[in-house]
Amino acid sequence: MHEWALAEAVISTAVEFAEKTGFEHITEIEISIGELQQIEEDPFLFALEEMLKEKSKPVDKNTKITLEKENAILKCKSCKHEWDYLNALNELDEEKVESIHFVPEVSHAFIKCPKCNSPDFEITNGRGVWINNIIGK
């Protein structure tokens, strides 16, 4: 459950953002979660809500969290082929998926371009946790 650690990162970034922008209250944090990291949505959301309950302004229990999933797209640097991580996911054993869950770049050890077999690919989309927007007043 290292979703907790990432949730803490989101909250502290939102607080820092409020300090910088002068927002008194953050009303909404829009987060996208990239498929590559295989974040478990429920525990992640639970962690965020638990933390918000304990906080007072600029973030508190009234801060709304929205989560949106993003497909993970990989692009081969050698032959330019693009593919969806979900296609590769079926072929990976649990331990490898777990490793990528901790550090998505570890995928370079376990995934190869399905066209040319190169390990030199770029994660163009859907790597991990990203804050799309912080709304406040």
Binding site: M1, H2, A5, S99, F102, H108, A109, F110, D120, E122
Partner: protein, 242 residues
């Protein structure tokens, strides 16, 4: 917006001192020095961690002889302890598999590791740095407040590269602990002159230890080497007096 940098300070706040073993040149003993230094500090009773940031040439796990290093997943990644040293490396996740990475991947992986690793209270976090002035060095300077131990050898090319290394550290306002010469031949040292030129401490010389290779892969044996004794008397002492 990347949420991860926002939590790194919090993750590192219970670490009293971070020591990045660098130097610029490849193959000069950064990995054996950082690994043995962490073992020596742990052996002396200090709470110590070892972080391998040389993703493309990770070797501290081989030097330690570490197996089954996958961290425990709690409210983050809790490092496994090996001979008293909390250990974190990309190899904890990739095991024996090669992991080619480009610059952005390296930055992302460093950021991720720093954001999720729960080190707890540490007296020392020792970092094994890759050679070069690339992404890892710049990220280490930007993401964490490290003190750099600049390694050299008696070779002219090594000293020349170390000089550039020091220049970059200086321009970035990074703290430098001092210059440490490895594989010394006991002659008057260009490394000492380098340290004097930049007005940074010359920590001393470490001799070539023909028995070191034999101890690689065995932490207890490593602690018994002359190399370890020299690291202890030169480096560990300097750190304590800081």
């Amino acid at each position: 917006m990347d949420p991860r940098p926002g939590i790194i300070k919090e993750r590192l706040k219970s670490i009293k001192q971070t020591i990045a073993v660098s130097g610029g040149k490849g193959g000069i003993g950064k990995s054996v020095t950082s690994t043995v230094l962490s073992l020596v500090l742990a052996d002396a009773g200090y709470k110590t961690g070892l972080l391998d940031l040389d993703f493309c040439g990770a070797s501290t796990q081989t030097i330690l002889g570490a197996k089954n290093t996958f961290p425990k997943e709690e409210n983050g990644a809790v490092p496994i302890t090996i001979n008293g040293v909390k250990f974190m490396s990309i190899t904890c996740f990739t095991q024996e598999t090669a992991t080619p990475m480009r610059g952005t991947d390296i930055t992302n992986a460093i950021t991720e590791l720093l954001a999720i690793t729960l080190w707890g209270d540490l007296d020392f976090l020792v970092i094994d740095m890759p050679p070069g002035l690339g992404d890892t060095l710049l990220d280490t300077i930007n993401l964490m407040k490290s003190n750099f131990l600049v390694m050299t050898t008696p070779s002219k090319t090594t000293v020349e590269i170390a000089k550039k290394h020091i220049e970059v550290l200086r321009q970035s306002n990074a703290q430098i602990i001092g210059v440490l010469e490895n594989m010394s031949r006991g002659e008057p040292s260009a490394s000492r002159e380098l340290a004097e030129k930049f007005d940074i401490p010359f920590i001393g010389q470490i001799n070539f230890d023909p028995k070191l290779e034999d101890a690689v892969g065995n932490a207890e044996k490593l602690l018994e080497t002359r190399f370890a004794k020299e690291i202890k008397s030169r480096v560990a002492k300097t750190l304590k007096s800081l």
